[in-house]
Point group: C2
Chain length 554, copies 2
């Protein structure tokens, strides 16, 4: 069967959005899944907790799944794993830190005991299904990230994962450029490379530089220092601990998620905190101010985070005061700026000095900039180039970048979620597609919130509702209750005069208009109420509440 | 009365937020208002159209208001004027373009005929109340902006308005640094200066540079060019027209708001479009692609804008296609990034090339960067410095900047909205405060939407509602209708199995539990429904819909 002898690469997510990363690689009936990530909801997805990729394609082929490979421990690469493992019973492969975080996540979902978690490490080879996989260490904003060299019967596929390349990284965290170059020497059929930062010219600045800036700031402060960052950014946490150590400070790790990641990283030896240096949050007042460094989360303005509680004065142990220095060592992620700004303003208001990316270089992205992206292409010298991990514009710009440095347009396969990238002896192409999509997670509900529900939530969020209760005697057709009007989210009733009282008159007029013996009387009244009240409120107050007629025959 | 001989400066808005700019300057019972701006709603202000300052202080003193001075035509400086003029009958002063835009706005509010609009111009003096005002031309992202030199019996107050200083501005649009310097020579009691961009180091790049970049891009394209920008950015519009003219292109102005501002600017001679160069949107297909330049709005991703309609393929006359170049010549305003990204992705998807701030320098801010802010202080050599126009952190940073360049801390008056900055012979200080606040505008409602309504909208937006209708016979206490359950924004009913059916059982159990002859039976049932259904839904699906019991006795 020649058909089966094709190599297929099928993105289920991440090629058309930031996040939701999930990809199938398939040959001769054997299938591996690379990453299983979530995405945070778009603005219009009211009430939604997060989004996962539609996994039908994998579910339908579940007995063919040889393994699930996780490139690193970020939510946009592992967050959908619990949902995948509910459907597919396949071994999971990841580096020690990635599996540490996954273990914690699966425990919360009560799935840990049934999961098969298998440790991989860069340099070792793994044979699953029709593939031989080798993992390549990459530098990213989380430790233990890997790219993957996938040896297939049709050639070598290189998947970068999320990566950057800089040459002055902290020890042991550098991208293994030699290994990528070795792949290039052997011959790479296709390179799949991270497009997230393709809009950025030049190189990412090095983590060492960030470290030096942090050292300058922290060592000169005489008050307490509070650093907020992503819980998974173990490399940055180590840098801060090193500075604190040299200053002779104690360090406090505060916040639920960071306590988990720090504990995993310590156990695995990725993070070193001298024995007596770490103290608990309850001991914050036992040491002089210049000996206190608190490392916490909440750098995106998350309202329940430790930092947000400090900023609004409700953190139990830490009351922000003059002399405190707060450092937000992370990017302002689009959509979070207002929440972050609010926290910064509140911290200033309480007397703290605040240092953030807009006023100091205290953060560097974990994703390669243009020059690094070019270097990855030069290292691997791929026959085909496939931009991954990005919105449509990032994929376009990355394709353009590849073309600029010599990859012929015909060998750039700019696929989107659901498109099948197919390779055979004759070459590669985008051919056909499968159904993909986004599944919204809201509470325990998986996918039950869709377009209609979101539309209803949107309408309710904008102008609330007006409910009219009205009961008729079933036999006589006479009103025996109401009309009674209540509203929520619509108007503050004492301030709008006769608005709702007048609406009752509108309803009474309708009741009078529709004769008792007319067929479908209730339906007719209901429809008229919708139309007339909508018009009435639009005219009087220019709002469009949801109209809810509760009409009973008793 | 020595008390009356004090000069008071009272910010009602804009000192604690971006937008909402409004300030009272008062001496001896005479009062002027500087600007009357709106603010766009915060994320949590669901359904709110915009926000205006609470104006009670002015309303209570309405007979003392000698005039309302508008520094420029942006919404955050003029948007609340219709609401102020409903309360206060005072003359309005502004430059020709500002008044042009105001006239249009007042017409929409049916207030034009009753308003007294008075033209001012830089260089001319205006005596109102106890003040002599002189207007100083400033460069900003709208034409005809002014700062104000306010001669008061206690000294000269300089208010910058929104400004930047660069030396290669387009003709006639430069900040009149000489005039500010003259003020400095005469002696300035207090400088009130725009803090918006205090986080930015260095100088704004010049409009001329932007113009050259736009020229490079537009002149080399062989397809249609579509430039999206703010409707009020007349200077930028002129630059684009000049480039289009040299290229031999026709120009189309498309979009409701930009058509208004362009028409005002043309009438006033601020914008020059050669006679036969401007064509209508209906003629877009009558010319070769390289002769078409469309200037439009929607650069913030506004969903109903011309650009958004082009991006989603529903613009009547302009179907985006390969060869088109779309230029977003404006900042990505925080909170709008996702909407803008969506439009960029869609434009790329339709084949257009898209150029935006992240990949090319095609926009410059209208607000001074740090070096320009320092220059303003050096020019005016004020005795007191008052940072205005910014969130709390901007005011703090601007105060710090002033201190760095030599203003003593004791003479930096870092006030917030509502605080009274008072000057007398002995000097200046922050003394007392008045009540200020934000009034939410939703449709025709002014201030009737407050914390409670927003909380209801938030709750409804997250998980919708579940309504239970139930009727009892008044005498027998027997259920004569229901329980009937409907929901909106909660779950997609066919996908959640027996969730709502089981909820009916929960209700029936409650009815059984509460004896018919118990006092306040209905109230008890209602309260139980709230509690039990909430618990039931939280347990089964982990959502918290608003529970709406409609319980009737008939």
């Amino acid at each position: 069967m020649t058909h089966d002898k094709k190599l297929k690469i099928i993105p289920l997510g991440g090629l058309g959005e930031i996040g939701l990363n999930m990809m199938v690689v398939e040959y001769d009936g054997s299938l591996i899944v690379i990453d299983s990530g979530l995405m945070f909801p778009e603005d219009y997805m009211l009430g939604v907790d997060f989004v996962i990729p539609k996994m039908d394609y994998i579910k339908e082929r579940k007995s063919d799944v040889a393994g699930i490979i996780l490139t690193h421990a970020h939510e946009d690469h592992i967050g959908a794993l619990p949902y995948l493992l509910r459907e597919v019973d396949a071994p999971v492969f990841g580096t020690p830190f990635t599996l540490g975080v996954v273990r914690h996540k699966l425990e919360e979902h009560d799935l840990l005991s049934s999961a098969s978690l298998n440790e991989i490490s860069p340099g070792h080879k793994l044979n699953i299904g029709e593939f031989e996989l080798e993992f390549i260490h990459v530098s990213h904003s989380v430790v233990d990230g890997v790219g993957i060299a996938i040896r297939t019967p049709l050639g070598l596929i290189v998947h970068t994962g999320d990566f950057k390349i800089t040459h002055t990284n902290i020890d042991g965290m550098m991208t293994d450029v030699n290994k990528f170059a070795q792949c290039g020497e052997k011959g790479v059929l296709a390179l799949l490379s991270d497009s997230t930062n393709v809009e950025k010219e030049g190189y990412t600045i090095s983590d060492r530089e960030i470290g030096e800036t942090l050292r300058r700031i922290i060592s000169k402060t005489t008050g307490r220092v509070i650093v907020a960052l992503f819980a998974s950014n173990i490399g940055r946490i180590q840098q801060i601990i090193d500075v604190a150590k040299d200053k002779g400070s104690k360090v406090i790790i505060n916040g639920r998620s960071i306590e988990v990641t720090v504990s995993i990283a310590k156990q695995l030896g990725y993070l070193h905190i001298p024995e007596d240096m770490e103290i608990g949050i309850d001991q914050v007042s036992d040491f002089p101010d210049d000996m206190v460094v608190i490392i916490t989360t909440g750098s995106q303005g998350e309202p329940m985070s430790a930092l947000a509680r400090m900023a609004s004065g409700i953190h139990k142990q830490v009351k922000i005061r003059e002399g405190d220095t707060v450092i937000l060592s992370s990017k302002f992620i689009p959509g979070h700026e207002k929440a972050i700004a609010k926290i910064i303003n509140n911290l200033y208001r309480r007397g703290a000095d605040v240092i953030y990316e807009k006023i100091s270089e205290i953060h560097v992205s974990g994703h390669a900039f243009q020059e690094e992206l070019k270097m990855m292409i030069h290292l691997t010298k791929p026959r085909y180039f496939i931009p991954i991990h990005g919105e449509f514009r990032h994929l376009i710009l990355h394709a353009r970048l590849a073309e600029q440095i010599g990859i012929p347009k015909s060998r750039i396969l700019r696929a989107e979620d659901g498109q099948i990238i197919e390779f055979d002896e004759a070459g590669g192409r985008i051919q056909d597609s499968i159904e993909t999509g986004r599944v919204l997670i809201d509470g325990k509900g998986i996918g039950d919130v869709g377009r209609d529900i979101l539309k209803e939530r949107r309408a309710l969020s904008e102008d609330g509702f007006v409910a009219v209760t009205l009961a008729f005697d079933e036999e006589t057709g006479i009103v025996v209750y109401g009309p009674e009007i209540i509203s929520k989210g619509f108007v503050f009733e004492t301030q709008t005069g006769h608005l709702l009282e007048d609406a009752i008159c509108v309803v009474l007029e309708i009741v009078e208009d529709v004769e008792p013996d007319v067929p479908d009387r209730i339906e007719k009244i209901r429809a008229r109420m919708q139309a007339d009240l909508r018009r009435y409120f639009n005219f009087t107050i220019k709002r469009r509440p949801v109209i809810l007629p509760f009409i009973l025959e008793v």
